[in-house]
């Protein structure tokens, strides 16, 4: 599917540009460079306007992400249950800093601010899998499982 054909169905919809960007990202895993120009054209906006929207939201990524994205909650309820130590342990385990993607592009580690799992913290999301009462081993196991599923 071309970028234009992904984006076009959202013209005229409420908040269409944001939904269109979500759709592009779902298809490509990030927003390819042309997204800005194509979306501007399709929505009849300036490139600056589209760029302004893309840069405003945490969800929108302008560079390819790792095949598996591990999002670790960095907010208060998770801090109260060892979240800071969990982040340190994951950075060590995956030899990655928060916000970075591995050179082989297999993994991205990034913070997220609350997953609504604050009563069973700390929490994380591996791909689209939620993990509560998380620790580095548990997250590692889910990462392995996710990788295996993709391979098969």
């Amino acid at each position: 599917m071309t970028l234009a054909s992904i984006i076009e169905p959202y013209v005229g919809k409420t908040g269409g540009l944001i939904s269109a960007l979500h759709a592009v990202q779902k298809e490509h895993g990030f927003l390819p460079e042309d997204t800005e120009a194509v979306a501007a054209d399709v929505f009849n906006l300036t490139r600056a306007e589209v760029k302004g929207v893309i840069s405003f939201y945490h969800d929108f990524k302008r560079a390819p992400q790792g095949e598996t994205v591990v999002r670790v909650c960095a907010a208060e309820a998770c801090q109260a249950t060892g979240g800071r130590a969990l982040v340190a342990a994951l950075e060590k385990k995956f030899a990655l800093k928060m916000g970075d993607t591995s050179a082989s592009k297999d993994l991205t580690l990034e913070p997220v601010y609350c997953l609504g799992l604050c009563s069973c913290a700390p929490s994380a999301m591996v791909g689209d899998r939620l993990v509560a009462r998380a620790n580095a081993d548990k997250i590692g196991a889910v990462v392995e499982k996710t990788k295996k599923e993709r391979a098969s």
Partner: protein, 518 residues
């Protein structure tokens, strides 16, 4: 084949603790036994330390087992098919004190019914409020809400009835209902739980609001971190259309109302209502200056009723049972019930719906059971990242809007995050600034730049660099942010900071002189 029905939550918290894998394992085990197993995926009861909580109906009561893991499947099926005894049995779920002592005006069905069954919803009292509303004129509905004393549950606590009157009174060719389901506050998950566990109550509340103020279109602005809620809501809306609850002719009343779900893109500030409206228009989520009020010029410049999920979910009971019934719960100007969310380092974390007026101590110690690891509670933060840090010295305060405000705190969206004695409040205060750096919309300087300065100052205080001077600078900075910020993001970031300094001065290297005088 013998048949068996089990109830197991589809709620994100249960799923994050293994509910989906458990469901698969139960089906495999049942197949082995040639057992005709039906698993009804419900919402969560809110006792998250028991999740995944499996329930089975026996003699008209739901008996629970939890937390159940995949390894328990064989013994669990033995138990429920036999005498019911199992080491993970928790007995009748509704007899557990945590559950039994609640007043569930909103969450009554959550965890009980199949969230995607209109039939279940109505069998358990659903749509009674809507049916009453459809027989009333719009002014009378607004008055009922006004008389109930309901205040917005999103954080600000503004009287709902006043907003309803304003939107109802505005002349326009189009008006909107917008649900704020951005639920960005850490320590909160009530919106998520009700959307996942009883979506029709939100649809009912929105429809009543639409009828009352004359809006035919509703949007649910849902944060992207809630994929389960997105799925449930979209399915529920489709079912509601089929059942004639939404569409051109709601329940045969001749009135039109329909709903769409919009997924946000990861920005805490988009929980602020004017930022949310910009985002819903597909723009950057920058905060708008008020006035104009969204009630008069909101989405696409049209009169818009913006409400938090829980505010709207409170409405069906108000219409069904009347304003007086609702107002009789709570204390003073804090009427009705609030789903408190007990989170962080806590033994019995989860959702506890009760009338306003409970003491903080009851929530933290009696209901929450203290910390998970058994260490002493040292601090709680109430009302999300912009909420105050309080020490146990203040645990006798009542949880209602006025008492909290009088003590420099706020109920917010009802989240309580508990910390043990290993917490360092300077770190927490620094984080409050960091979060503001990360999430500021950038429109005004005190917030955008002040938060960056705040982080630097915290580091200097921590390192003892010109300590006294930096403590003073911190105070000035906080004052500047309070006075000069356009919205509460910058305006309230000083609350966690200054409450931390006030109640835990020792963590900032400040002699607790004031404390002694208190």
């Amino acid at each position: 084949m013998t048949a068996l029905t089990l109830y197991l939550p589809l709620d994100s918290a249960a799923v994050a603790l293994g509910a989906d894998e458990l469901a698969d394992a139960l089906v495999r085990e049942a197949d082995k036994r040639k057992l005709d197993l039906k698993i009804v995926r419900t919402g969560s009861r809110g006792m998250h330390w028991l999740e995944p909580l499996v329930e089975v109906e026996k003699d008209g009561k739901r008996i629970g087992y939890g937390p159940v893991d995949e390894g328990d499947t064989a013994s669990l099926l033995d138990a429920v098919m036999g005498d019911g005894k199992h080491e993970k049995s928790v007995g009748a779920v509704e007899e557990i004190p945590f559950f039994k002592n609640q007043t569930r005006l909103i969450f009554g069905r959550c965890g009980v019914i199949d969230p995607l069954s209109v039939e279940d919803y109505e069998k358990h009292g659903g749509n009674a409020g809507l049916d009453k509303a459809l027989k009333m004129d719009s002014a009378a509905i607004c008055e009922e809400v006004f008389e109930s004393g309901l205040r917005g549950r999103g954080g600000a606590g503004f009287p709902a009835g006043i907003k309803w009157r304003t939107v109802a009174g505005a002349e326009a060719d189009q008006k909107y209902i917008v649900v704020n389901a951005d639920e960005g506050d850490s320590g909160t998950f009530a919106d998520r739980m009700i959307m996942e566990g009883d979506p029709f109550i939100l649809i009912e509340g929105m429809t009543i609001a639409g009828v009352a103020v004359g809006a035919t279109e509703g949007y649910i602005y849902l944060r992207s971190e809630y994929p389960v809620a997105a799925r449930v809501l979209n399915d529920a809306i489709a079912d509601a259309r089929k059942a004639g609850l939404l569409g051109e002719n709601v329940r045969g009343s001749g009135k039109a109302f329909d709903i769409e779900v919009f997924i946000g893109a990861g920005a805490y500030i988009c929980g602020e209502e004017t930022s949310l409206l910009n985002s819903l228009e597909g723009k950057r989520g920058e905060v708008r200056s008020k006035p104009p009020l969204p009630a008069l010029e909101g989405l696409f410049g049209k009169p818009t009723l913006v409400h938090n999920v829980i505010s709207l979910c409170s409405v069906p009971a108000i219409l069904e049972k009347g304003a007086k019934f609702y107002r009789d719960y709570g204390m003073g100007k804090s009427t009705g019930t609030m789903p408190f969310q007990i989170a962080g380092n806590v033994k019995h974390g989860g959702l506890y719906e009760t009338a306003f007026g409970l003491k903080l101590r009851e929530l933290v110690e009696d209901i929450g059971g203290g910390t998970l690891n058994g260490r002493p509670v040292r601090a709680v933060q109430i009302g999300g990242p912009l909420g105050a840090y309080l020490s146990p010295r203040l645990f006798d305060l009542e949880m209602d809007y006025e008492t909290m405000a009088a003590n420099g705190a706020g109920v917010g969206h009802g989240g309580i995050v508990i910390y043990d004695d290993s917490v360092n409040l300077l770190e927490q205060a620094r984080y409050a600034f960091e979060f503001c750096v990360e999430e500021s919309c950038g429109k005004c300087t005190p917030c955008r730049v002040g938060s960056v300065r705040g982080v630097e100052i915290m580091d200097r205080i921590k390192e003892g660099v010109e300590h006294g001077k930096n403590v003073d600078v911190l105070e000035d900075l906080c004052e500047l942010m309070v006075d000069g910020s356009l919205c509460a993001m910058g305006g309230m970031t000083p609350i966690p900071v200054q409450s931390a300094v006030k109640h835990f001065p020792e963590d900032f290297g400040i002699k607790p002189a004031k404390q002694a005088a208190e």
